[in-house]
């Protein structure tokens, strides 16, 4: 199956979505920075939570989307599922890295170290490596159909692996020290966090729309070039 036509672009709707995203992210950041007081124990650095948690949420959401799109691709063999999967994987890698960097910045003043072998932290880093592998395989596979099929397989195997990695690291760490428990967030902190979660989820939808369109265009160019190499278009 090939993508012969670019989908009708809808610049008006995409721009509207972009504007709404910008507003909501700005509101979330303003609320996180100015409206709520700093944490009594951790101080200002605790405000990283309002970006860190949404970034981690988008990382998990992305890799779930990669999994679903990979399954759909292998069942239906429609290249659009593959393009959605790669869009989600790229966005997921970006937000996983963001979550790791922010966690590290928070960890230095709070725990005293940039890195600790906390189960969630370690699993997130391993998850990042799995999906970087997914993207690198794509860049090394030339045939679009094989690229889609192989990366879909990696998307599925990787998704099955992540919970097992988490359990094994959890087990490994609990033998030495209890894992850091999730901090309970209460009151106005919770509302600001929910606002930021909503803003980032909207940002995710916007990025997916944009990235998917780019993927379709890139695929379109690739197909034109392939047919030209065959000599059908000159």
């Amino acid at each position: 199956m090939t993508i012969t036509d670019l989908p009708q672009s809808n610049p008006g709707r995409a721009r509207l979505l972009g504007a709404a995203t910008l507003l909501l992210v700005a509101a979330g950041s303003a609320a996180g920075l100015f409206m709520v007081p700093a944490d009594a124990l951790q101080g200002e650095v605790q405000r990283l939570l309002y970006v860190h948690v949404p970034a981690a949420w988008l990382a998990m959401l992305s890799f779930f989307v990669v999994f679903v799109m990979s399954v759909l691709y292998l069942i239906q063999r429609d290249p659009r599922w593959d393009l959605l999967a790669v869009s989600a994987a790229e966005i997921g890698v970006v937000f996983t890295s963001l979550a790791l960097v922010l966690g590290s910045l928070w960890g230095k003043p709070t725990w005293g170290v940039w890195w600790t072998w906390d189960p969630r932290l370690t699993t997130t880093a391993i998850m990042l490596m799995i999906y970087v592998g997914y993207l690198v395989v794509r860049s090394f596979a030339e045939d679009p159909e094989k690229r889609a099929r192989w990366s879909a397989i990696i998307g599925i195997v990787g998704f099955v692996d992540v919970p097992i990695v988490y359990l094994s690291v959890l087990w490994w760490r609990t033998l030495h020290q209890p894992p850091s428990s999730p901090r309970s967030v209460a009151g106005e902190f919770l509302y600001v966090l929910l606002l930021n979660l909503a803003a980032f989820t909207l940002l995710y939808v916007y990025l997916m729309v944009r990235r998917y369109r780019l993927a379709v265009a890139a695929r379109h160019v690739e197909e034109l070039r392939l047919t030209r190499d065959d000599g059908r278009i000159t």
Partner: protein, 227 residues
Amino acid sequence: MKSSLALRTWAILWKDLLIELRTKQSFSAMVFFAALVLFLFGFAIGPDAATLSRLGGGLLWIAIAFTGMLSLGRTFQSEEVAGGLDGLRMYPGEIRAIYLGKLLTNFSMLVVLEVVLVPVAAVLLQLEPWDRFPLFVGITLLGTFGFSVVGTFYASLTQHLRARELMLPLLLFPALVPVFLGAVNGTTLALAGDPLDRIGGWIRLLIAFDIIFFVVCVWIFPLVLEE
């Protein structure tokens, strides 16, 4: 149908082992490479016997993983000449036999390697695996099987990629984190003693990983080889 799957698997395993036996291409090189890795650990960590034997389980598994990676990369090399893989694929019957045959080849190669490597490691790193030897052997086999299951699968997936020598470890090592944790901790407990009886958990983890990934890999393998 069942017997045809077993027969085909056996034929591929036998063919690969026969090639290995007649050419002895890689096995001796693998053994020396693994011993070399152990020597490098000695140089990196220092000759202190207590430190080396305390780290023994981890060092042994890194040596097995690195050597196994070289061995996995060669899984489909023998099929490259004269369209060997296309030939295998065109035989009637279950295509999963290719995966099972290659998996058993890799597994047996690694087990033979370990038979040589473990005594060498025991001497170099001053390990004492003999007290709880059945436990030690069981954990080693479970870890090696998990390594071979995922390794053979990703070797078949990366065989046609550019830069496959780089891609195979990049995909394989993150996926194998549970196997490394289970095997290293289990081996360490089997070597040093297990007063708190924690080894059972690691064995269950290895068994669960082996079963889950064996099922997943066997199930989706035909998609890898599709043309």
